[in-house]
Amino acid sequence: MNHRTKIAGSLLAAALLAAGCTGSGGTSKGADAKAPDDPDKVSGTITVLTHRTDLVQDGTMKKYAAEFNRTYPKVRVEFDALTDYEGEVKIRMNTENYGDVLMIPAVIKKNDYPRFFASLGAETERAKKYLFTDFTTVDGKVYGQSPMGALPGFLYNKRVWKEAGISDWPTTPAEFVAGLKAVRSKTDAIPYYTNFKDMWPLTHWTYMDGAVSCDQRATSRLAEGDPWAKGEDLRVADTLLYDIVRGGLIEKDPTTTNWEGSKPKLAKGDIATMWLGSWAITQFRAAAKQAGANPDDIGFMPFPAQRDGKFCATMSPDYNQAVNINSDHKAAARAWIDWFTDKSGYAADNLTLSPVKGAPLPEVLQPYKDEGVRFIELDDTKGAVVKEIDNESEVGLYKPDYRQDLVDLARGARKGSLDDFLGDLGKRWEEARKSTGS
């Protein structure tokens, strides 16, 4: 390279640097996506961004769209299935072109919802009919609606647990660990499978928040103090995970686990237990059928903790569907969201909770009903603050890192004690909480 080009290059770089601060500076505009009055008058082509690549590929989504067209004949629905949903949508959110209907990605700050999405209406109105409205409420307006809800719990192989001599759900963490030990000594199954390498299953441990305290405000409390203080939900959960790993009750080599491969293994009884969500039941049943095992062996039990003699299970929304604020067909997009939530049967098809209040429970959760498990709808008014503290502290409540470190600690691949580890998390959390000023 000769000297002149070098100089030209650096000049260009400098010029670009000046122009590089691209802050698009969009002011908050705010818009409403009103529900259309007359289905025949709504028209246009809408694009729905979805993370359900499986449903788009096997044509299920197309079937939903065809059903939708019976009511709204003039709306064309197209699907854009994204494998790496979070990653791809995050980048598209920097433009105006992010579909007409999309699932709100986790990266968007709650306070920014009015900049990106059109409002679906006032919370006071929507909360009468739907669950989970406050997860997307900003200044009294709702910006998204989840088409289904899930309960966290342990998926387990009923046959294996029975062989180990346990027929009742454990009611304390210690009883649970004892149960896993019985599985280890009396059967050939791996008592608990962490899915360490695939990471995200570990993040599910955070969703037990609320199951110990039975407190609606369990997630809001995260913004008010150390989540790993003595007796707090997360400390109980993380201690249980630690004890399971410490007791050698997990797979031999967690660093090379395989999520897809783990499904038929649990179905066949090679694995006894996994901590996931009720949404996983359908997938495991399908895997059981494929592997020639009995789908009815797949059971689902709540977190081993009771308050006043009852188990608690927290209901949480899946991805929330929202209308792109830049969409030209907001009425059609709104019509899709309403129809998909109320009439599509999506929640029932997935054996999950319907977000419509008063809808019947799916039959897989019948044991929950029989045992009198209390369903808790979490209050998410401080969700935005929790997320902010979480990012600031780099703890990652809904990220795998700290749980992976916890598992490493428990199996001796990392030095330290559990108390120090949880204490350090708490310290980082408290510092971030103070610096974000909550």
Binding site: L12, L17, G87, D112, D408, A413
Partner: protein, 341 residues
Amino acid sequence: MADTTGTDTNEKDTTGTGPTGTGRPAERAARRAEAAPAARTALARGRDRAPRGLRLRRGLTPWLFLAAPLVLLITFTYAPVANMVAYSFTDWDGVSPELSYTGAENYVELFTRPELFEVFFVSGYYLAASVVQIVVALYFATVLSFDVRFRNFFKGVLFFPYLINGVAIGFVFLYFFQDGGTLDSVLGLLGVHSDRAWLGTPVSANVSLAGVSVWRYLGLNFVLFLGAIQSVPGELYEAAELDGANRWHQFRYIIAPGIRPVLSLTVILSISGSLSAFEVPFIMTGGATGTETFVIQTVKLAFQFNKTGLASAAAVVLLLIILAVTWVQRRLVPDDKVDLV
């Protein structure tokens, strides 16, 4: 490890004196492009009494040729780097339309958090691995530059891993290191029944990952060395043999000094590659069990905790570290001309 292509060699190519030897490099490049010798003489003649228009056109010609690469270079190299530097002075979260200028705050935070630099210890494994890599590559390059049976076959075998996509390699080696996977089976055939999780502890995980890295990038080093060795004139070996030199002497006194520039380039690439190791550990372990490298940490800051500003600052710091290391190395081992005769 050494995953950057040899930009340095390209550079050398343009600065080397061409057959004509005079004129500015840009002009020379243009002239070289107009390959036909007839055109060249016509141009040279035209230079003495060129009319204004022709002169202008001649001034423009090199830029026309340069336009495409310059546009590509600016769009895909300089503009993103400039953007990255700009972001490093902001508190951008990667998606929000609001971003505010925070001055050097990100850099201050970076340097007041020593734990962010602890991950460079992991680079030590990759650095050690690249020593092995260079020695092995050099050995094979030397052996295969002489007459060996199935020479080309072995060349292909050695270079092949470099052609595979890094993501695929990550997945393949996950099976390789699995409990009861390929490695355990092969060891079992040899009568060694190891019962260990290869990625289970920080030391064994890092050694395994560095091993994958050697497997992957050995081919590149090998090809670079092979090319350099083959540019050594063959008569030298004959002469050396007549003087009674054995293979080791030939290597020591002809090959090693003959390929010194390529050797030092490889060392630079290896060091910068070790500092910025990413895809193999990211795909195989995601940075778990003490295998987190600086780049993985940066990616997590940016995409997991949405601290794009801080992550950009970390990326800028890594760039500066690599530039500094390269500079120091260039001072220690100046790139002087090779003269074997």
